[in-house]
C-alpha cells in the first residue's frame, strides 16, 4: 500500500517536472526564435537607419505630391515644363498609353519623346519631372546621341502619373 502510494507520488512529481521542462523548453525555443527575428530587425534598423530615414521622408514627400497632384493634368504640366525649359520644339510626342490600378492608386501611363536636346536641358527636364507638383514615376528611359548632331540627345521616356 505504502509502495503504491510512493509510486503514485513519484509519478505525479515526475509528470509535473517533465511538464515543467517541456513548457520551459517550448518557451525558451519560442523566445530564441523571437530574439533571432528581433536581432535581424534591429540590425536592419541600425545598418540602414540613414537609408530608411531618407526613404521614409521621400515617401512622405511623394505622398504629399500624390495628394497635391490628384486634380492636375499631366499633359498641361509637361507642356508647362517644356515652356519653362524652352523645349517645346524638342518635344516630338506625348501619348497616353492607358491606365491601370495598383492597389488604391490610379496609374496613367504616357510616352514622351524629345529630339535634339543638349545634356543640360536633359538634366533640367529630368529634375523638373522628378520634382513636379504631381507625382510622376519614370518607368523606362532611352537616351541616345542624335544622328544629326552628336552633341545632342534624343530622349524617349515611359512615365506614369500616379494619383
Amino acid at each position: 500500500m505504502n509502495s503504491r502510494k510512493n509510486l503514485i507520488i513519484f509519478l505525479v512529481v515526475t509528470s509535473i517536472l517533465l511538464s515543467t521542462i517541456g513548457v520551459l523548453s517550448y518557451k525558451t525555443a519560442k523566445l530564441q526564435k523571437d530574439i533571432a527575428a528581433l536581432e535581424l530587425l534591429q540590425r536592419e534598423l541600425i545598418e540602414n537607419s540613414a537609408t530608411l530615414a531618407v526613404m521614409s521622408q521621400s515617401v512622405k514627400n511623394m505622398q504629399k505630391r500624390l495628394e497635391d497632384g490628384r486634380n492636375r493634368n499631366f499633359v498641361s504640366e509637361v507642356e508647362k515644363i517644356n515652356g519653362d525649359l524652352n523645349m517645346t520644339k524638342a518635344m516630338k510626342k506625348v501619348n497616353s498609353i492607358g491606365n491601370k490600378k495598383e492597389g488604391v492608386l490610379n496609374v496613367n501611363r504616357y510616352e514622351l519623346r524629345y529630339e535634339g536636346v543638349d545634356i543640360n536641358s536633359a538634366t533640367n527636364l529630368f529634375y523638373r519631372l522628378t520634382n513636379a507638383p504631381l507625382l510622376i514615376r519614370v518607368e523606362r528611359c532611352n537616351l541616345s546621341v542624335s544622328f544629326d548632331n552628336p552633341n545632342l540627345l534624343n530622349i524617349s521616356l515611359s512615365v506614369a502619373h500616379i494619383n
Binding site: 517536472l17 517533465l18 528581433l38 530608411l52 526613404m55 500624390l66 514615376r137 552628336p150
Partner: protein
C-alpha cells in the same frame, strides 16, 4: 565498521567492532534496532543453546551435495518440519559408504524476525554464526571448532530480500538523481528564460528607438516588433511603387568623362541599365567600367565589336540597386 550482535537467553547485546565496548543490551529487539546505524555492518551470533544439534550419517556424496539433501534427510528428526529450519553441517568422519556430520539447525522464523528489522533499517548483516560453543562442548569432542565458527545461517529467503532491497536502493538513488537532474534542468531553463526575456526587452527598446528615428511622427507610441516589421515592409513597398527610376543619378554616373570613349545610348528599364558606346581602345572601356563599378557593382561588358576604322563598339549592362 562492523558491530556485533549477540543473542543469548532472550537478551540481545550489541557491541562495537572491538567487541569490548557494549553499545546496548536489551530483551527488546527494537532497542537494538534503534542503536544500529542505517548503513552499519552487523555480525550476528546466536548462542549455541538456541540451536538443535544432531549427529547424522549421510551418503558419501561430498559436503556440498550433502548440504543440498540435508532438509530431506533431516525431515522428522526435529520437533518442527525441516523446511522451517536453517541448517549448517560440519564433517566429522568418513566410513566406506556413509559420511558422518554434525548438523546444527535453528528456526527460520526466529532468524527472519531477528534479521528483517535490521535489514529494513538499512544495515547489512555480514554473517549469522554460532557463539558460546562452550555450552555444547561435550558434543564437540574431536570436532574442529573453527569449522563450526565458520558456519553461516543466513536464510536463503533473506538473500533474495536483500538483493531486492539493494535493487530498490539503487532504483531509489537513480530516481533521486533523475529528480535532481530535472530540478537542475528546470533551474537552468528558468535562468535562461529570465536572461532571454531581459535581452528581448532590451532589443525591443532598441528597435522602438530606431523606429522612432525613422518615423519621428510616431514618437509617442511603442509599437510591437511585428508592427514595426510591417511598417518597414509597407515603407519599402510604397517607396518602390512611387519612386520609379532615379534618372538624374544614372545620368550623372553614366556621363563620367573618359578619354577616347563616347557614350552613344543609355537605356534604363525597371532595374536594368544598358549603356552603348564607342571607344578607340579596350582600355578606355575598362576605365569607364571601373568608374561605373562604384555605383553599379555588378556592371559588366556584354559585347564588344571592332569597327573597320580601328575603333570598337561596346555594350555594358548593370543592375540598379533599389
Amino acid at each position: 565498521m562492523t558491530l556485533f550482535l549477540n543473542f543469548k537467553n532472550g537478551v540481545y547485546t550489541l557491541m562495537d567492532e572491538t567487541r569490548q565496548t557494549l553499545i546496548v543490551s536489551s530483551e527488546n529487539l527494537s532497542d537494538i534496532i534503534n542503536a544500529i546505524p542505517p548503513d552499519g555492518l552487523i555480525s550476528v551470533s546466536i548462542d549455541a543453546d538456541e540451536f538443535f544439534i544432531r549427529k547424522v550419517n549421510l551418503p558419501a556424496i561430498g559436503e556440498e551435495k550433502a548440504k543440498e539433501i540435508l532438509p530431506v534427510e533431516m525431515e522428522g528428526k526435529f520437533l518442527v518440519p525441516a523446511q522451517e529450519l536453517c541448517f549448517g553441517l560440519v564433517f566429522l568422519e568418513k566410513s566406506e559408504t556413509l559420511d558422518s556430520y554434525l548438523v546444527f539447525a535453528i528456526k527460520k522464523q526466529f532468524l527472519l524476525n531477528l534479521l528483517t528489522p535490521i535489514l529494513n533499517k538499512g544495515a547489512k548483516v555480514t554473517v549469522v554464526s554460532l557463539s558460546n560453543l562452550d555450552a555444547i562442548s561435550e558434543l564437540l569432542v574431536g570436532v574442529d571448532q573453527e569449522k563450526i565458527k565458520g558456519l553461516d545461517f543466513y536464510p536463503e529467503e533473506l538473500k533474495k530480500y536483500t538483493e531486492k532491497k539493494l535493487a530498490f536502493g539503487v532504483l531509489k538513488k537513480v530516481v533521486l538523481y533523475a529528480l535532481a537532474i530535472c530540478f537542475i534542468i528546470i533551474l537552468g531553463l528558468s535562468l535562461r528564460l529570465y536572461f532571454m526575456s531581459k535581452k528581448e526587452a532590451q532589443l525591443k527598446k532598441s528597435i522602438v528607438a530606431g523606429y522612432n528615428t525613422i518615423f519621428p511622427e510616431s514618437k509617442s507610441s511603442s509599437p510591437s516588433a511585428s508592427v514595426i516589421e510591417a511598417k518597414l515592409k509597407e515603407l519599402k513597398q510604397n517607396y518602390r511603387s512611387l519612386k520609379g527610376i532615379e534618372l538624374l543619378d544614372i545620368l550623372k554616373d553614366a556621363s563620367a568623362s573618359v578619354g577616347n570613349l563616347a557614350v552613344k545610348e543609355i537605356n534604363v528599364e525597371t532595374n536594368r541599365l544598358t549603356i552603348k558606346g564607342e571607344a578607340k581602345e579596350y582600355s578606355a572601356i575598362e576605365k569607364y567600367k571601373g568608374l561605373l563599378k562604384k555605383n553599379f557593382p555588378l556592371i559588366k561588358v556584354t559585347e564588344t565589336k571592332n569597327l573597320s576604322d580601328g575603333r570598337m563598339t561596346f555594350v555594358m549592362e548593370a543592375t540598379i540597386d533599389e
